[in-house]
Structures are given as structure tokens and as C-alpha cells.
């Protein structure tokens, strides 16, 4: 009985190889169905994201599944193993359990503590469960990994604070306006970063109302995508008092948002706070603008500064998160040990039942003793012998040494004897 994981991830493997080994859901189904007929693999889950491809497998036999899993990868993608072998990592048993728990907790992610991975683990588990390629071992393992992932995020600050520029912009907006609820946004320029920031702001509840662009066609196209109105570069200033968040991302070589323009807008806004996100390089906003009361200006460096400070907080939580995952690994390993002890304990129970049946039928023959009473006595003897045994095995499953007890049981009571 063993657990294996074989995979590649963002740490070592270049994206060109990762994308070749990616399993889409359509590709996962046939592979998992194929695994169900496999002579050595009894259970399998495929976790495939943009940062990692991992095959989790269980076997009832005491052998390594490395060759089998490599062959699965090769066959599924039609790529020779030599191509990706240098980047492959493999873990067995306790290390495999630990790896999955760390992955689910976001400890192995590119951005520590990110939340998406937990959903991706859940989805991988769902697909495998749907295909019927998981059984007791991996079912329990993935169920536990989801719980660990959730626990780590609630009991530590591993996922606290935004760490990407668009999400930092949203976090800051929420620190000013609370939960975004229709806060109006104006965007100067239509760059890739501003589009990403707009998407994040919309997801958080803001409303994009104006897209300002020199090129009317492009501006209207972006405006249509976000349900916003296009404004020409010479007419946005009069609309500034109407918005709460201004994103600057033009390619202009000089600042387009001036001190006087914002000062006038603030007077018209009656000093309702204004949040300006300047993601343009060179900057779109004059640096003196931040000196105005109730105006909060953040340029790219400021946003990066917030992101890195949040990342520091996350990093400080790693030790506690690792402790939580290590404890969960021990719990799962103990459960596995107990699972391994099941056949021996079943044999011991059967042996005990035979002895009790023999002795009671022989000793109490013709005494006319009440059958109910005999059964009750048998039950009591059985409990007194079995309960301490179970307790010892349970205890040993946490401290190690289950096998020693099992071997002792088998040898002392000759449990291997077939008759």
C-alpha cells in the first residue's frame, strides 16, 4: 500500500514544457478512465494548473509507481519522458502527503498563500471522483487537503493582503470607500494593466463609467467591453468631479493629471475622497497632487511597495502554516497506519471469535445455561481483549511502531495459519 506523486511546477520547469504537459479537463477523463484498468495503480488524481502538473496515485502493492506515472504522462501528451524528466519531482508516502497539503495551503505556490490553488485542488478531486478513479486512500487524502488548505488560510494570515498590482489597487480602494458598491471609475488610456485593473475593480463592485483615449475607435471598443462611455482627451477633466477612482495609464510623455485640475475637481466634489491609480510610466499624475486633502495617489512603485509589504506579512506566516500542515500530515499518516492494521485486526477478531465459540460450546455443553447470558459473557470478554488492543494500535499509529504490534499479534496467535 503506497502513495505517490510525480509532477512538474513553476519552480524548475519552463513554461514551454509546462504548457505541453497541461491536462485540460477533456484530456483528464480518458486518462483517468485508462488508469482504472491499470494493474498497479488503484487510484489516481490529476492536478493540472498553469503553474503545475501533478499526478497523485495510490497502489495496494509495495512498489514504486514512478515508471507507470511517467508512462502515463508520455502517452497522454505524446512527448518523450526525456524532454521533461530533468524537471520532474517525485514524492512517496509521507512526503507525498506533505506535498499535497503544502500545495493546497498555497505554500508551494508562485504567490504564497494564493487562494486559487485550493479551488483547483477541489476541481481535480471532483473530476477524479466523477470518473471513479479515487477510493478510500485518495478520497480521504484530498478531502483532508481541502480542509488543511482552508484551516491554514483561516488560522494564519498567509493569504492576507493583495500581492498583484490590480488587486492592490482594489484593496486600497476598499480601504478608502469600504466595500465597493457602484463607485465610479474613469480610465485614462487603454493599456493591458489598466484593463486588468478595471476587471478587478468591476469584480469588487465598482462601475467603469468613462474610458478616455486619444484613439476613438479603441476607446469605444474598450468602453463597450466595460459598459463605459468614451471621452476624448480634451474633455475628461470636466467629468472628473463625478468619479471616485481615476486610473492613469496613458503613454503620454508628461503628466496629464495636473494639480490645478484635481484641486478644482475636489472643490466640486465637496472633498469626497478621490483615489488616483497612476500605472503609467512615465507618470500621468503630477506628484504635488498627493498633497491635496482627501486625494490619494498611488503610482506603480507605490503599488509594488504595498504588494511587497503584504508579501512580507504572508512570508512571516509560513512557519505557522508549515506547522499546521505537518500536524495534518501526522494525522493522515496515523489514519493510514490504522488502515494498514485493519486486515491483521480482522484476523485477530476472527481468531478470538473461534476460540470463544469453541470454549463456550465445549465447556458449557449440557449445562443448560441461558444462550442470551452466554452471548453477553462472550461479548464482554471480546470487548475486554479487543478494546485495549485497538487503543494500543491507535496510539502506535501516532508514535510509529504499528507494524511491531501487528507482527507480534500475527506471531503470538499464529494468525497467518490458514485454517
Amino acid at each position: 500500500m503506497g502513495l505517490f506523486v510525480l509532477g512538474i511546477n513553476h519552480k524548475e520547469c519552463p513554461v514551454e514544457i509546462r504548457e505541453k504537459l497541461h491536462f485540460s479537463p477533456e484530456k483528464i477523463y480518458p486518462v483517468l478512465n485508462q488508469v482504472k484498468m491499470h494493474p498497479r495503480i488503484s487510484e489516481c488524481v490529476i492536478l493540472s494548473t498553469c503553474n503545475r502538473v501533478e499526478l497523485y496515485a495510490a497502489t495496494p502493492l509495495s512498489l514504486s509507481l514512478e515508471e507507470d506515472l511517467l508512462a502515463l504522462m508520455e502517452n497522454a501528451h505524446g512527448i518523450k519522458a526525456e524532454t521533461f524528466l530533468p524537471y520532474v519531482y517525485r514524492f512517496a508516502d509521507k512526503a507525498a502527503i506533505r506535498h499535497l497539503f503544502r500545495v493546497a495551503s498555497g505554500l508551494d505556490s508562485l504567490v504564497i498563500g494564493e487562494n486559487e490553488i485550493l479551488g483547483q485542488v477541489r476541481e481535480a478531486f471532483r473530476l477524479a471522483n466523477e470518473t471513479g478513479s479515487v477510493n478510500a486512500m485518495l478520497y480521504r487524502l484530498f478531502e483532508k487537503s481541502l480542509k488543511v488548505g482552508k484551516d491554514v488560510r483561516t488560522r494564519t494570515k498567509i493569504n492576507q493582503g493583495a500581492v498583484s498590482i490590480p488587486s492592490v489597487a482594489v484593496e486600497l480602494a476598499e480601504k478608502i470607500y469600504g466595500r465597493l458598491d457602484g463607485e465610479k471609475v474613469m480610465v485614462l488610456g487603454t493599456g493591458e494593466m489598466s484593463t486588468l485593473t478595471m476587471k478587478n475593480l468591476i469584480d469588487a463592485g465598482a462601475e467603469i463609467v468613462y474610458v478616455v483615449s486619444r484613439q476613438r475607435e479603441k476607446g469605444e471598443k474598450v468602453g463597450l467591453e466595460f459598459g463605459a462611455e468614451w471621452l476624448a482627451m480634451d474633455s475628461w477633466e470636466e467629468k472628473l468631479p463625478l468619479v471616485d477612482i481615476l486610473i492613469g495609464s496613458t503613454a503620454a510623455p508628461h503628466p496629464v493629471v495636473t494639480y490645478d485640475c484635481v484641486k478644482n475637481a475636489m472643490a466640486k466634489r465637496r472633498h469626497r475622497p478621490l483615489f488616483i491609480i497612476d500605472i503609467a510610466v512615465p507618470r500621468d499624475v503630477e506628484s504635488q497632487v498627493n498633497s491635496l486633502d482627501d486625494v490619494y495617489v498611488y503610482n506603480v512603485d507605490d503599488l509594488k511597495g504595498v504588494a511587497s509589504s503584504n508579501l512580507k506579512i504572508r512570508r512571516a506566516e509560513i512557519t505557522e502554516a508549515e506547522e499546521l500542515t505537518d500536524k495534518a500530515v501526522e494525522d493522515y499518516r496515523a489514519w493510514m497506519e490504522q488502515l494498514k492494521s485493519r486486515p491483521t485486526l480482522n484476523d485477530f477478531e476472527r481468531f478470538l471469535d473461534c476460540v470463544l465459540d469453541d470454549e463456550f460450546s465445549r465447556g458449557l455443553k449440557d449445562t443448560g445455561a441461558d444462550e442470551k447470558k452466554i452471548q453477553a459473557v462472550k461479548h464482554r470478554i471480546r470487548s475486554r481483549l479487543l478494546n485495549p488492543t485497538y487503543e494500543k494500535i491507535k496510539e502506535a499509529s501516532h508514535n510509529g511502531g504499528v507494524m511491531r504490534y501487528l507482527e507480534a499479534l500475527r506471531s503470538l496467535f499464529n494468525l497467518d495459519k490458514k485454517d
Binding site: T154, R155, Q160, G161, L172, E174, K175, I176, Y177, G178, R270, H271, R272, P273, N290, D293, D294, Y296, Y298, D302, G305, V306, S309, N310, I313
Partner: protein
């Protein structure tokens, strides 16, 4: 030394408010689990209940309820009204950072009440001037206390607003940035108590004037304390008008709110000290 029932209740009150402060502090600096805020809130609620028992016990013992007959009771009553407003009126916007500011204030006032309780001499009901037991005077006192408690809460929220605004302005995302609520939420905590405080202060001024007219055939309108209170009421009314009349909002108005509270402190404590006693005593027989 044996403690009276009142002193025992005040001691327990100090203990629970103090405990709430330490739990808030430990939670703020992450020395205890994330549920620290709830535990601190529970301590505060227990403290508040003990405070309520204290006033009931005192009213039963003395046969009247007038929390200004001694400095000890006045301090305890101010703390009680602060806790009452925090736990009831602004329950929805409670935050951990707010508790950390409020609980030491509560502890300070109740500890002061306990300290003074030994030397305070509360006169018997028979010796109390009958005019002080007039319901109008009680409305005046209770209204003023609750109004000032509302202003104190608004002031504390104003300070937190200025801290958070500064953090955002300086792009300093430290502990306060993470722990303090958004500016919008803090604004709510600033203005919500004012909605209660301004009418209550108005009621206190009006009932005080009517009471002095009925009791002494004189209105205390020229009294410095009354004048200061009227100025305070005008300032807070102006703040509400600026904010909700959409005249101006943001940092400047919050600073005005902080200044307005300075007039409360001056009117409540400063003048009392200058005048050597509560302002109503000038009408009482020497």
C-alpha cells in the same frame, strides 16, 4: 479594609473594562487568536452589566438617582453611557481598533470613580435640595451625559480616521492600515453618534433653561458653562450640516469634529475647575 457593595461593583467593573483593554491589545498585536475581539467584547458587556447593577444598587440605597451628586458617580455614569452607546447604537460598525481606544477610556473613568468613592460624601435624600430632584433637572443631566458620550465616541472615530488617512497618504501599509476600518466606515462611526448627540445636547440645554427658570426665576444663559455648551451645540450642528448638506466632507471636517470635542472637554471639565464646582450650584443656597 472592607469594601462596600458599590465599591465591590466598581472594582469588578474596572476589572472587566481593563481586561477588555488587554484582550484588545493582545489581539491587535496578534498575541492571541483571531477571536480576541469577540472575547474583549464579552468582557466589555460584562463590565457594562456590572455598571448597570452599580447604578441600580446606588439608586435603591439612596432612594434617588442623580449621578452628579458626587464626582465618583459622575465619572462612573459617563463611562456607563459611553459603553451603552458603543454596545447599542453603533453595534453594527464596531471594530477591533475602536475597542482598543475606547476600553482604556472606560477603565480610566471607572477607576477614577472607584478611587474617589472612598472620599466622596453623598448626602442623604433629605439633605438634597428638592430642586435637584426635579425630573427636568434629571433630563438635563442624563441628556448632557449621553450627548457628551456620543461626542466622545465621534471624537475617537475621528482620530482613527485621521490615522488611517495619514497611512494612506504616506503609503504606509503598517499595522494600522491593516487593522483600521476603511475611511468610509470610520466616517459612519463619526457621524452616527452626532445624530444622537446633537438632539440630546439640545434637550439638555432646553430642559436646563426651563428648570432654572422654574426653580430660580432666572435663566442661566449668561453662565460661561451654558455659553460653552451652546457653542458646542452650534459647532456640532454645523458639522452635521456641512456633511449632510453636501457642503464639504473629508479630512477638514473631521479636524473640525476633533476641535468641537475640545470645546466639550473645556466646557465639561475646564470650566468646572475654573468655576470651582458644577455650574448649577451657583443657584443653590450656600
Amino acid at each position: 479594609m472592607t469594601l462596600t457593595l458599590s465599591q465591590t461593583l466598581l472594582t469588578a467593573n474596572v476589572f472587566f473594562f481593563g481586561l477588555a483593554f488587554f484582550v484588545h491589545l493582545a489581539s491587535f498585536y496578534e498575541k492571541i487568536s483571531l477571536r480576541g475581539h469577540s472575547l474583549a467584547l464579552l468582557c466589555m458587556r460584562i463590565g457594562f452589566l456590572i455598571g448597570t447593577f452599580y447604578f441600580i444598587a446606588e439608586a435603591v440605597r439612596l432612594g434617588f438617582f442623580l449621578p452628579v451628586v458626587s464626582a465618583s458617580q459622575a465619572m462612573a455614569f459617563f463611562a456607563w453611557s459611553l459603553a451603552f452607546i458603543y454596545l447599542t447604537l453603533i453595534m453594527s460598525v464596531q471594530s477591533e481598533s475602536f475597542g482598543i481606544i475606547l476600553t482604556p477610556i472606560l477603565t480610566f473613568f471607572v477607576a477614577g470613580a472607584l478611587f474617589m468613592s472612598g472620599s466622596d460624601r453623598i448626602p442623604d435624600k433629605a439633605l438634597i435640595e428638592p430642586v435637584l430632584l426635579n425630573p427636568l433637572f434629571e433630563i438635563h443631566i442624563v441628556g448632557a451625559f449621553f450627548a457628551y458620550a456620543n461626542f466622545a465616541l465621534s471624537f475617537a472615530a475621528g482620530i482613527l480616521y485621521l490615522i488611517q488617512a495619514r497611512e494612506l497618504k504616506l503609503r504606509h501599509t503598517g499595522r494600522f492600515y491593516h487593522k483600521l476600518p476603511s475611511l468610509e466606515k470610520l466616517e459612519k462611526i463619526i457621524y452616527q453618534p452626532l445624530f444622537w448627540g446633537v438632539p440630546l445636547l439640545g434637550a439638555a440645554i432646553f430642559s436646563g433653561l426651563v428648570w432654572s427658570r422654574l426653580s430660580f426665576q432666572a435663566t442661566a444663559i449668561g453662565n460661561p458653562k451654558t455659553l460653552m455648551t451652546v457653542i458646542t451645540a452650534i459647532l456640532y450642528t454645523a458639522i452635521l450640516y456641512f456633511r449632510y448638506g453636501r457642503v464639504v466632507r473629508g479630512r477638514k471636517i473631521i479636524i473640525l469634529n476633533v476641535i468641537a470635542f475640545a470645546t466639550v472637554i473645556f466646557g465639561f471639565i475646564g470650566l468646572q475647575w475654573i468655576q470651582n464646582g458644577a455650574h448649577y450650584t451657583m443657584y443653590l443656597p450656600k
